[in-house]
Symmetry: D2
Subunit: 445 residues, 4 copies
């Protein structure tokens, strides 16, 4: 079961009573179609899942559909909004910022929109970061720039301090763009707001280039990342094929999930090995990675390896665990590790390999969004605004079963989507690479 | 109701009894997960649609899931397959061809794969087009080329002649890549095959850059097209903004559906008017397009107009209807028409406009697929092969509710997907452009 | 002889006496190397040209080298500068604007820099266009935008009126970015300034995507244009090869010179016919274009034609000459003309051609500059500033023999560079296309 | 003085007596303009350099112009040619191969063209690499692929062995595409050929993405490399600006010359420090790099550093010198070194920097050429063929003073072009970055 019906309920700050300024906004025959509260999207599409609910007399779980509501909670003329971008860069951050600002300004008439600088740091007086006034003018030309005009930072901050700042600034809606850690911080911020009895809506627009947020089918920036990662793999292939015993080794993002590595590997099918966190592998031994690589090299004279950054972390088990400022476990660098292991292996075998190691991560995440991600970010930003204006809170705006929906933070925070080893994506990678099982005792399974 | 349960049933040529060569193909622990016949994807995701079925004691309609089957119908060692690409170019045609060939060759061991040249013409002896032998070698480097290595043509051919050719060539599976017209021809070919009691599977991979095929959520090439169309709109914006009373007029594909125009217009939100076939408009009169354009030009000094090729066909109602070789109505050129009307209008008003007309259609459809479309095409091609090998026929491979499924040809042929004037896409376009209603009496609705 | 020695002399407003603020600007060991007045670049590099000068006891003509001078004429603290962009869009306009503004501001300390809107219109009070204050802030993020942030317009304006405006604004240096027409207007403006005894420097940065300005080896934007035009030709090739008797017809910029068409045709060598203004052709007759095209189509089943917009104007000789606002002869549309002639020809011959006509002009010229053009524009802009600050006037900044030099306006205005029919570029096109001579009686020459 | 007149003389294998098949090749009025032996391009364009020659009664040195000759040395019907690509990948290798093959085949009628696999290794029997038959068919679709279809390798091989192989294969012309090391090997091969009294022409097409070959104004691939490097710098800028105390550190190619780093840094002017081999710098001390970086970070909160791979090698002076297979000194990794030094420095200062290190080298050099490089490669390849067919040998095809010329190998081998610290390129970088002198005692110079 994907989710329980009870977990899909969205909190509200209070009854929305103000008629939305969107009504009648569109001159003429086409009126803005408001979404009513009983419009919902069911969570599952597999017939057997639906049957399971029916057979057990369970309600089929469904998510609230996102979109403009007929009645809103906040008075736009008095509302102050804040927006903050957290964690690593991702294509589309500026698109989200622009979309939120334009929707608040043009459609709801909100005139006080503040950009918080450098992630959660921006809330803390001790850092002294300025707050930025956001208007249509400040966001009009930011789509072709990568990064985020607000800056970002890693790491959490004192939750009380954040809420103090929101109170001081008299904020009505806080838009947070960020990943896993941000989602957990947002959850606590919403709880603290609640315990102080404040009326502040907290809306998360989920961001991760790894595409691994639970109950979110695709995160923005992923489409762009696949495009660029594919180019990097082509480059690795050209380097590998360009030399006798040429090896192209390319490390891609993917701390816990190999979606990017697996998807990009399918685009041109140049990769011969795809290593992702979800799939076990051995380094040594007859079926291990190094032997398999050697076999391929002997047969075909070149090989291309795509490794997700979170793969093979077990090889570092004897090393001390370290944490980054966001509290994430600092991953050991599997790319550099593999590079060294491969070189050592073939040196011993006296095979003169020519290995080229490519790590395009920062070149991918710092890019502007492509057109499809821009369109996607536009919808996410607008629906985040609609949700906030309606007084909803503690939710994230998700795309699920081709619809934009509201997901309660608690339903998603702390969980994760993964590449299914039995699923279509990974099976296709296995077919395309022919890499087989890289674990020594897999035949006995 | 989207579809009736009875309409989702897929025909088969006979009972598949041969164990799939895919079993055990993947060395080691990860076995290829075969799809069983009872795995199905429900058609609708709106809760109220599901409720409707339940309330009326109807079966919830669902589509057969695509993917490899445990038993197949054809003996790979004796099987001959043919593939043909029909109609207009579209990014991804070569990806489809490559994917079908690689899957047939490497995974099923099929050794006789023939490419039919220049669409349905290739079946007809009178054209004298050669048949192309397709092997992994011939398709290995075709992904970076646009167009189709097989060539294409418009127009249907004598159905009996096509089936004669299939018989002569001893074809087991025919893969057809094409749009609306191709789907209808495929349907007839399958019927003729049936009436001759032949065992030939006909599988369609739906192709249209307009993205308007019924029961297919997205067609390949659309993602690429949005990317490029967005660039064209940026160019039009630069031209418009670069001159006093500058007008950028850009015509995009979209014979009956404005998906491309509407989606591309949302990417950068530079467009001020989006005109699509689904939405009425008047040219003259107070609320008409020309008056609205004039108002915009006076206020803002420049304007960008995106028009889908199928928009405003009513303006040609007094002209003779003509047909192209595919039997499609030859659309009158709305782009050139609008250009002339606009110039005439402002000449009379003595406003010295600078109009730049851009028609990027052939530059869009002739491009190679971007990475995401390549991945998508890979799945479509492989699933087409799985369907054919299993002896299924008269179906199209569709992507629906995030799953690859089989749709009976009859359920889709002759129908069409359209931009919903009340839906999220069009409402967002209205918001982004502020164009309002361009019909004179729309206030009274 | 390329040029006479007397024609290379640059006018000055007066003796530069103020020490340049650039001295000592670069902290430390690397001092800014000022260019002295006797540093000159010779005009010709062919040995036989040099020998001609020596044999006839003539001075070898040479151009003044561009770059910073040790003494400048204007006092930066009191100087007002104006910049204007004229004529058609071209990749790199914003790069030029940015480079001029940054150099004036950061290196010379000039604080009053004005952008004139919409070309020469911006000087005329009757149009009411505002003047734009240009600072580092306003130009920092304009490189990724195509077009020109100042706008442009075609056509000349009353020269006296322009100089009146310059006087009113107390302008010291006027930077004009434009082509042929702009160069002639600039020449007259400089003369009028002189006759009024004003001290205003007029500096032209030559712009034309046709790359046909006399004594300027390459104009900015051309490199970018070749990139994009090449893509368009690839598209045309895919369309042509995609259909039986497929024809791709692509029109490129080039009013009087075929540099863009010829160069782009060489990049991928997909073109079978390149038609440019410099080369005669007949339409009909045995060696004419249509017969040659037919021969190619019969032999190879497809053909790609690249035509420069200025080619074949003789076919319109019976039509009335019209002029655009810039006073340029309005070219008849050779692209549409050829399209119709080709279709008519093959209709009569009963050959069912599939012709795709592509006109990418506005999509090319409205793009941002690529990196190489950006670098080039940076040098042009900075050298324009150095020239103006030194009190030089009536010149254009040119790139000649790999050096940036000053060319007197009079030496270049009204003349034009052309593709040499006997030169390497055109001979290579003939080789690549195999098109031969398209004139009926060329065998007798 | 750039070069002595005597050094510009090109060796020939013997008197060319065979009429070129190119005469009359171009049907009709435009005949192929043959280049005569007295057409030469003078080496220098600075007036003072010319004056120096004249004042001292010296002949002005000049280079032989490249291009087709009226008489050729080899009989095409009996000629065998070989082509080999050596050293690191570079955009345009496949363009060169294609151009050489098409010119030999179509224009001279040569039917035996062999591709040597994997650089000089391909000549040595012990490696067992096959020789590849090159025809128009094998090279028709290779332009969109990066890398080299022939493969490459580093390192020299026994010169006698190479010439043995050439003899065995009965080679008439050997085309070598490679850099510095290849040039030196080619020189020795030509000497060995001479001492054996063989009639084999050796023609080098110079390749280096560093653009540092002596007497070659620009090498192919550089234009493409600047494009991509600029994108990488944009990414580094976005990463740097995206975090408090953000640092983007990007390493680019440039073993001995900083052309790529300096040029790319000028395109968008995002870089704050550009470190190249030609310019001294200190790490520590008041004017040293680290102090300067700290100052910048404190003032502006972020910094972008571009470092050429050959910069700062003095910091490794205490380490053992190592050599790669080509005999090049193995450079120590200045990028990783700087990264560690910077992190250590700010850790000690307790400034929480966020450093992102980007090394795009392999992603740049493995790309296909852009359109301008394709055109350039076409000319180089064709002129290499013309030179070889005319019986010229021991030369490299260079682009100098905007003309394609022949340079004797000895004049260029072992020397190098460098960024001139007093020249326009570097002075512009100093202006754009404001980095000043990074040496502690530079004030005293």
């Amino acid at each position: 079961m994907i989710i329980d019906s009870k977990e899909t309920k969205i909190q509200i700050l209070g009854e929305p009573r103000i008629p939305s300024p969107l009504s009648g906004k569109i001159k003429g025959g086409y009126t803005n179609r408001f979404v009513s509260e009983d419009e919902r999207i069911i969570c599952a599409v597999e017939k057997k899942d639906i049957q399971h609910y029916l057979d057990n007399n369970l309600e089929i779980p469904s998510f609230e559909k996102a979109g403009p509501r007929e009645k809103i909670y906040f008075d736009p003329s008095k509302l102050k909004c804040a927006i903050v971008t957290c964690g690593g860069l991702c294509p589309g951050l500026n698109d989200i910022i622009r979309s939120v600002v334009l929707e608040l300004h043009h459609c709801y008439g909100v005139r006080n929109i503040y950009g918080i600088k450098y992630g959660l740091q921006g809330f803390m007086p001790e850092y002294g970061h300025d707050v930025v006034d956001l208007t249509p003018g400040t966001v009009s030309n930011i789509l072709d720039m990568g990064g985020t005009i607000l800056g970002s930072s890693r790491g959490t901050q004192d939750i009380g301090g954040v809420v103090d700042c929101l109170e001081r600034m008299n904020t009505g809606i806080l838009f947070m763009v960020g990943g896993d850690g941000t989602l957990m911080a947002a959850n606590k911020i919403a709880d603290e707001i609640n315990s102080r009895n404040l009326k502040i809506s907290v809306i998360v627009i989920p961001k991760t280039i790894d595409n691994d947020i639970y109950l979110v089918s695709k995160t923005f920036g992923f489409d762009t990342a696949v495009d660029i990662a594919t180019n990097a793999i082509k480059g690795a292939h050209n380097e590998a094929a360009g030399y006798p015993y040429g090896i192209g080794l390319i490390k891609l993002m993917g701390r816990h999930a190999g979606f990017l590595a697996a998807t990009a590997a399918l685009a041109q099918q140049d990769a011969n090995f795809v290593l992702i966190p979800e799939i076990e592998m051995d380094l040594h031994g007859e079926s291990g990675f190094l032997c398999s690589l050697e076999k391929r090299l002997i047969e075909r004279k070149h090989a291309v390896i795509v490794v997700a950054e979170g793969a093979g972390q077990k090889f570092f088990s004897d090393q001390k665990t370290e944490y980054d400022p966001s509290g994430n476990i600092k991953l050991k660098d599997i790319g550099v590790f593999l590079k060294n292991e491969i070189i050592a292996w073939f040196k011993e075998k006296n095979i003169p390999v020519s290995l080229k190691y490519i790590d395009p991560s920062y070149m991918i995440r710092s890019l502007p969004a492509n057109a499809n991600d821009s369109v996607f970010c536009g919808f996410l930003g607008r629906d985040a605004v609609h949700a906030g204006m309606a007084g909803k809170t503690k939710l994230l705006v998700s795309h699920w079963n081709n619809n934009y929906v509201h997901i309660p933070m608690e339903a998603s925070a702390g969980k994760r989507k993964n590449v299914d080893p039995q699923g279509k994506l990974w099976q296709s990678v296995l077919e395309a690479t022919g890499q087989g099982c890289l674990v020594n005792d897999c035949n006995t399974n």
